[in-house]
Amino acid sequence: MSASPDFSRNFTDPRALKSFILSTITVGCAILACIPLFSVLAMLILRGGRRFSLELFTSLPPTAFDSGGGFGNAIVGTVVMVGIASLIAVPFGIIGAIYLAEFGPHTRIATVARFCAKTMTGIPSILAGVFAYSVVVMVTGTYSAVAGGIALSLLMLPTVMLTAEEAIQMVPAIMREAAVGMGCTPTQAMWKVVLPKAMPGIITGVMLAIARAAGETAPLLFTALFSDYWIFQGGAGDLMEPTASLAVLIYNFSGMPFENQIQLAWAASLVLVLMVFTLNILSRLIGQRKK
């Protein structure tokens, strides 16, 4: 070798230049992906933050020419209906996932169920509303929180079941073998060893499903409608009446020609986003806690 090679960086080399440009573009795209979230948040904080006060959580929606008011009943309504949806979707979803992951992964039933769940994750949410309308509202004769909850559960169930199945499958096979080797029945192995280990993943899936359900408007339009009153009046609650929800309130109020209602719609949007945000962060924390 006559002369020592030149190792210094050289941007006139077309390959190095191309690599540098493409790497920069990937960074740019990643930053671009963050822009929508931050801009939505910024807009909501600016517009909705102005109205933020305790009154929002304690008062009922104002009528046409009123000032003030809040959407306490809508918050309660959202929580109640998502709660009903969870009570249906979570047990069925987890138990179904146990079958898919453990007892019948290759059976015909499992294949069909998995296919149905995957298809349902893409279902337009309005169809869940229409289905719940014909099955619950028409049968019971009234719009209700229960109907709304059932519609939301149809949207939650596939997500809960598929993420729970994945979480259970991620438990190392040797741990399950250890449980079986100790003399556990299949149910004992699942209940004592596999499920506890899969719990963080399952809870993450549940919280993500809840976050989605909390923001859905279309299914509630046909099932819970809306209400200007609290669900729980004088101690007793009536779940078989039309019920307010944050999503429907935003939909209704944002179309009204009244400045008061429009401001409330912004504030409600902010509250809804904060709820969804909190659920997402919680789900990440729980998912990481057990690592």
């Binding site: 190392p172 040797i174 741990m175 073998e177 250890a178 449980a179 079986v180 080797g181 100790m182 003399g183 556990c184 029945t185 004992q188 004592k192 060893v193 506890p196 280990k197 057990k290």
Partner: protein, 267 residues
Amino acid sequence: MSTPQSAATTDEVVIDCRVKKIFYGNFLAVRDSHVPILKNKITGFIGPSGCGKSTVLKSINRMNDLVRSFRFEGEIRFEGQDLYAKNVDPVTVRRYIGMVFQQPNPFSMSIYENVAFGLRLARYKGDYDARVEEALKGAALWDEVKDKLKNNGMSLSGGQQQRLCIARAIATRPPVILMDEPASALDPIATRQIEELMVELKKDYTVAIVTHNMQQALRVADKTAFFAVDISRGGRTGYLVEMGDTRELFENPREALTREYLSGEFS
């Protein structure tokens, strides 16, 4: 077959394992192997890879039932009862025949709960603390973990995890413990500790161990069974070549194949 002199009346056969055929689907994995497991002795299974030694071991506590295509022909008698009889519940079998696996696999719970797991399964009504301590001492792990019983079992080192798995297996005092290459995933020091542990364990338990390390069999096993692969009929079927006192087998093997394996001509 063990030599007549050693199968004397003092050596009681706890598990009489008579394999006719073991299939995985259409694949004949093991044929014609009679392996008696003697009480309070360590029986070692050695042989080249693919010879079926792990398959036979796992058949003893019905662990192969987890494989869908597994089929067992023959009988395995535990104190006279055939474990593959029609009405036998494999779950109960596994509570009497414990197993330690190649990869340490503690549960993701505290060390205490790992060891107490079998006791809870058996609905033990006595003093849990005492039994957990006894098991951890028996597994030579007590001194290292007695101050951190609440820590997660998976936070221990590999050798400690394996000793935890042994403690978990012996907590319920099963008459027989099967070990499938228990030290192969461990470093040499941890391996030595496990081997010393095994020799201690045989005072109270019957142990059968599969090992791919024949020196390990020489060090710990009282009786050794040598398996090999039979390719004469087209497939690769494992079978028992010969079995006997470890010293005898290593110094004066009866079969040529045994002599070739022990001298390292194949592995």
